[in-house]
Amino acid sequence: MAQYLVLIYGDEKAQADSGPKVWEELHAGHVAFGHKYEHALAGGNALQDTSTATSIRKDGSGSFVVTDGPFAETKEALGGYYLIEAADLDEAIAVAKDVPMPNGGVEVRPVMVVDMDR
């Protein structure tokens, strides 16, 4: 078994502009997903939108620059994630295809296994 992070990207503006019915459907979609893949889920969260984000970078002189906004400005922003357990990429892709993604898509990334004995 391995772990994969499923990053959910979407158009925040389209989502924000959609009515309460769409929000309810999305919520119900995630609840259904959570039930269906209870055995495979190791974690997951929805994120507040990127207007609430704060980015921190190191500057050249050893201190920090703190700025308002996401790390990278993109049309489709990271809106949430699931951490899933899967035997291989095919299994992970099959689970990821069921994640509700009304205004975008998902990215599947294998979690790196760090060998502490090394």
Partner: protein, 419 residues
């Protein structure tokens, strides 16, 4: 026989076994190593050992079995010393528990599993970019060196090496499984495999740039791959369609370019020099390919090629049937290029004015704007209609859009021949 004789015979047998058995030997070895690089090394060692062993002891009755046994034995030796050289990539995921290593070799040679479908499905996994799928297929399934793959796709060897290394790393790190996809997934996965084989063929059949119109090595590799898939998946109409298409297209190879290297159009090709054997095999396969309803892309493309292959002259071509097949192809696999080919067929069935109208109906297709064949086909219909000034402009446009030297000579000749 002299020693030189026997080593030459052994070298020929090894070369033959490399072409015919590489995929089998590597696929079976990967199951033992679950590491692509190690498996490749072990197979290369086995082929090197074959050169000396076969010269000394003769060529074995089943070269593939001999090579696989040697390669897998090498793999087990390497794995025993694995703690010495720590591997850099995680093991490949295979879908079943492997028997203990020694049991694998203890099993009779005849029971070596055929893992070629696993190997090619792994190489053509949709999580890999298509250019990486092609590179891996040529390297791992066909056994080409990185340099050979690089030359085939006109990129530098370090670029190709980096592409292959990156793809192998993704297979291991993202855990792309070494497995035949499930029955539900198999059709779409085979489609990706067929696309790769077809791209290898078209790259060889019409080299995109440079002096050679045909790269024989790539054409032969793609036919080998299609034959291998046909043997592995005899019930698949898509596989039958692809094999038919490459055979029927390849059957005209001797007549596509004249002795001076100039492109010869289908219209002017000497049909008596088409490869009858490939045509017969291709036509028989078209029947199998069309057995699925509705017929699919490769089956229809092969059926079109079969109509040409079976016409004794250009004039006697059943253009109505070809237009009908293109109509079906547009349904099964819509694309501007198919629409263009259909328009050309319309012109041949109903005259240049109808053809020109059909091409002009496609002017909004952005994909055709930069496509030399669109301009060339338009130029040809204008020439036939006697509209020479417009034809001249269209030939100029086509010339701007192609870098293939042979095609350029053809277009320049046509342009110079205008009154």
């Amino acid at each position: 026989m002299t020693l030189a004789h026997t080593s030459a015979a052994a070298a020929a047998a090894v070369a033959e076994a490399h072409r015919r058995e590489w995929a089998f030997v590597l696929a079976a070895t990967v199951r033992v190593t679950r590491d692509l690089d190690l498996a490749e090394e072990c197979c290369q060692d086995a082929y090197a050992q074959a050169l000396t062993s076969w010269a000394a002891d003769g060529v074995p009755a089943r070269p593939g079995g001999w090579l696989t046994t040697v390669a897998r034995r090498r793999a087990l030796d390497a794995l025993r010393h694995e703690s010495v050289v720590r591997r850099t990539l995680p093991l490949l995921v295979a879908d079943e528990v492997e028997p203990a290593a020694d049991e694998v070799l203890a099993a009779a040679e005849g029971t070596i599993p055929d893992d070629r479908l696993r190997l090619i499905c792994t190489c053509c996994h949709p999580a890999l970019a298509q250019e990486a799928q092609i590179a891996l297929t040529l390297r791992l399934v066909c056994g080409l060196t990185t340099g050979e793959v690089a030359r085939a796709f006109l990129v530098s060897e370090p670029t190709m090496a980096a592409r292959i290394t990156r793809a192998k790393k993704k297979i291991a790190s993202a855990r792309i499984p070494y497995r035949v996809p499930s029955a539900g997934e198999l059709p779409s996965r085979i489609e990706a495999v067929l696309d790769v084989v077809h791209l290898v063929f078209t790259t060889g059949h019409t080299a995109p740039a440079g002096a050679d119109l045909v790269r024989r090595d790539l054409v032969e590799r793609s036919i080998d791959l299609a034959r291998m898939l046909r043997a592995l998946l005899p019930a698949s109409p898509d596989v039958a369609g692809l094999l038919a298409l490459v055979l029927l297209t390849d059957s005209r190879r001797a007549t596509r370019v004249d002795s001076g290297g100039r492109l010869v159009l289908l219209e002017e090709q000497d049909r008596s020099r088409w490869d009858r054997q490939e045509i017969d095999e291709g036509v028989a396969l078209v029947r199998a390919a069309l057995s699925s309803a509705p017929p699919r892309r490769f089956a229809l493309q092969a059926a079109i090629a079969a109509v040409h292959a079976q016409s004794t002259t250009w004039e006697s071509t059943d253009w109505q049937r070809i237009v009908g097949l293109y109509d079906a192809l547009l349904q099964a696999w819509p694309s501007p290029v198919v629409a263009l080919n259909r328009a050309v067929a319309v012109g041949l069935a109903h005259g240049p004015a109808a053809g020109l109208a059909a091409i002009d109906a496609l002017t909004d297709e952005p994909q055709l704007a930069g496509y030399s064949y669109a301009a060339a086909a338009r130029a040809d219909f204008l020439r036939r209609l006697g509209r020479f000034d417009e034809a001249r402009l269209a030939y100029d446009e086509a010339l701007l859009l192609t870098e293939n030297a042979t095609e350029r000579v053809f277009l320049e000749t046509r342009l110079a021949g205008l009154p």
